[in-house]
């Protein structure tokens, strides 16, 4: 057995993030964290808890409510020699900061002929959890099409740590997307420092009959759907993308060529979504396969629990989508 129980500890999702950020602040005197309530408050989800006390207000900086300037400062400081992590609690509000992120950070290295690099992480929290139309969106697909941006989205504790480590070592801008419903989760985390590389998906559950390709919290939903399907003898494989830009199409295609059926699942919209991209790319490589995509309904996500649930994929809908997909064959 390669596992070493002594060196692996069960931690909360927030602790995994905090550990990766703390290790970076320890190792790199030029690294700083900026954002609303990241200081003494410790982050909206306590994901920066204790860092303010350890590293002080100059390196763990509370900012005013000004997303555009927060990200702009993070970009400029990174471009001029610091390593920055800018935290925006709700992914919805990155829309206020798209100019420095998309027009400057993503293009700086290219447009300056490699003179300027922007080692910055923008950490965003996606997903719906009862907070309404402007605090619930999953907009990853908007960002993964921007040349120059890397986009990662962990679904579990180990990847939350490993992807944050990679993001904080990258020499260009990385958008790190976590999820409100992942913060209460816990899982095993190896005590040694390690990274999860960009562009490497994981097989969360092996299976034979269909492939579900998803990421972030929807991995949990997909796994719940798999349990439901297993009762009726349907055995699904779940691919956790982990990295949305770059995408690991090799892992997706290996699975789909085995199962012959592909369901893409995302919490965001399906129009121009991640599933649309995966479905096209997989078929471009494999030829025609049975394919279906599932995501949020084309409507705003309400804070009303009945309406929120109606607009988003859940395990039952995923299981139904798999059954329909397999019936097509």
């Amino acid at each position: 057995m390669s596992s070493e129980p002594v060196r692996t500890r069960r931690v909360f999702f927030r602790e995994a993030i905090c550990r990766a950020v703390g290790e970076t602040l320890d190792a790199e005197p030029n690294a700083i964290v900026m954002g609303q309530d990241v200081g003494a408050f410790g982050g909206s989800y306590k994901e920066f808890y204790g860092l303010f006390e350890r590293f002080g207000p100059a390196r763990v900086r509370d900012t005013p409510v000004a997303e555009a300037a927060m990200v702009g400062l993070g970009v400029g400081a990174a471009a001029a020699g610091l390593r920055t992590l800018v935290s925006i609690t709700y992914m919805d509000f990155v829309l206020l900061a798209l100019d420095p992120l998309v027009n400057y950070a993503a293009k700086a290295r290219f447009k300056t002929g490699g003179q300027i690099r922007v080692p910055m992480v923008v950490k965003l929290t996606a997903g719906a959890k009862g907070q309404g139309v402007a605090h619930s969106q999953s907009l990853e697909s908007w960002l993964m099409s921007v040349p120059g941006l890397r986009v990662v989205a962990p679904s579990n504790v180990a990847d939350a740590y490993g992807l944050m480590r990679s993001a904080l070592q990258a020499d260009g801008p990385v958008v790190y997307v976590d999820h409100k419903r992942l913060f209460p989760t816990s899982g095993p985390l190896n005590a040694s420092a390690h990274e999860v590389p960009f562009g490497l998906a994981a097989v969360s559950r092996p299976g034979r009959h269909a492939t579900i390709v998803t990421h972030s919290y929807m991995v949990c939903v997909a796994l719940a759907a798999c349990d439901e399907l297993a009762v009726s003898g349907i055995d699904c494989e779940v691919i956790d993308l982990r990295s949305l830009a770059p995408l690991d199409l090799a892992t997706v295609c290996t699975s789909v060529s085995k199962t012959g059926a592909l369901l893409t699942l995302e919490e965001g919209q399906v129009v121009c979504g991640i599933g649309a991209e995966i479905a096209y790319q997989a078929q471009a490589r494999l030829g025609p396969v049975r394919v279906s995509r599932l995501g949020a309904m084309p409507a705003p996500v309400s804070s009303n629990p009945v309406l929120e649930a109606a607009s988003l994929p859940d395990a039952g809908r995923v299981a139904d989508a798999v059954r329909r997909l397999l019936m097509e064959g």
């Binding site: 000004a66 555009a68 702009g72 400062l73 471009a79 027009n103 400057y104 300056t112 002929g113 003179q115």
Partner: protein, 311 residues
Amino acid sequence: MTASSDIDALAAMILARELESALSKRADCGFQLLSSGQEAVAVGVAAALLAHDQLLCSGRSIAPALARGLDPGRVMAELIGRASGPCLGRGGRGHLSQPSAGFFGAHAVVAGNLSIAAGVALALQARRDRSIAVCMFGDGACGAGALHETMNIAALWQLPLLLVCDNNLYSVSTPRAAALAPQRLSDLAAPFGIEACTVDGMDVRVVREAAVELTDYVRNGGGPAFLECISRRYASHSTSARETRGQQELAADRELDPITRLENALLSEGALSAQTAQALREQVRAKVAAACAFADLSPLPVPEEAFADVV
């Protein structure tokens, strides 16, 4: 200031004017944002900077880049998309940059470089070497929220940042009065407790004096400062924008020419002879001719360069 610094300023302004004039006459000029008329702001501000300072600006970047000391040949190469430009011809118009020369550079999104400059200032502050960031932007940027967000944080964190509003009185065709409510744009800095003043941006000595005073203030830990320079642009907003101003207004603006103004002042003060002035112009023209020759010899990038340095 010494007579030699005045003559340097004159030469720097003539260089920007002549280089843009040569650029405008080229068949491959393409889309450009010209600084003609506004040279005194760039040259006066650049005169106050030290080697480790960083200058950022809007897309109207030719005079700022040259004033900061970038090589005219490489600037010309960048402007016409040649591989010998500091950005290898990829940034070109509106995105000139050479941080190693203290020119962090242009960003052609109006108000887009303000918070970036504050971030550069934050990185410089961490170095504790008294270097500062300076960001030039047009009056058009003063209507954007980015300025207010940036001033607030810069004031809170006492960032070593000088904001220079090069107010040429128009946002493309919209007169400043139709776009911006404040009487003076430097008034925008007041609520944040930011040291600010408004000066005649057509007089390079006035700009330089104010810039020296404010860069000293910023450099000595005073926090951010705001300098508004009232200027005139002699060309339309860009080489592809229609001119909307009347002949009378343009002629009146020409009367304020910062180059003629300094040259006449130096002649009348006896600091410059007509002969020396003529020699200076000829030197600058030779430099511009050499810059054009350098750019002409530089190759266009190969198409594969379109995909380099992306991630």
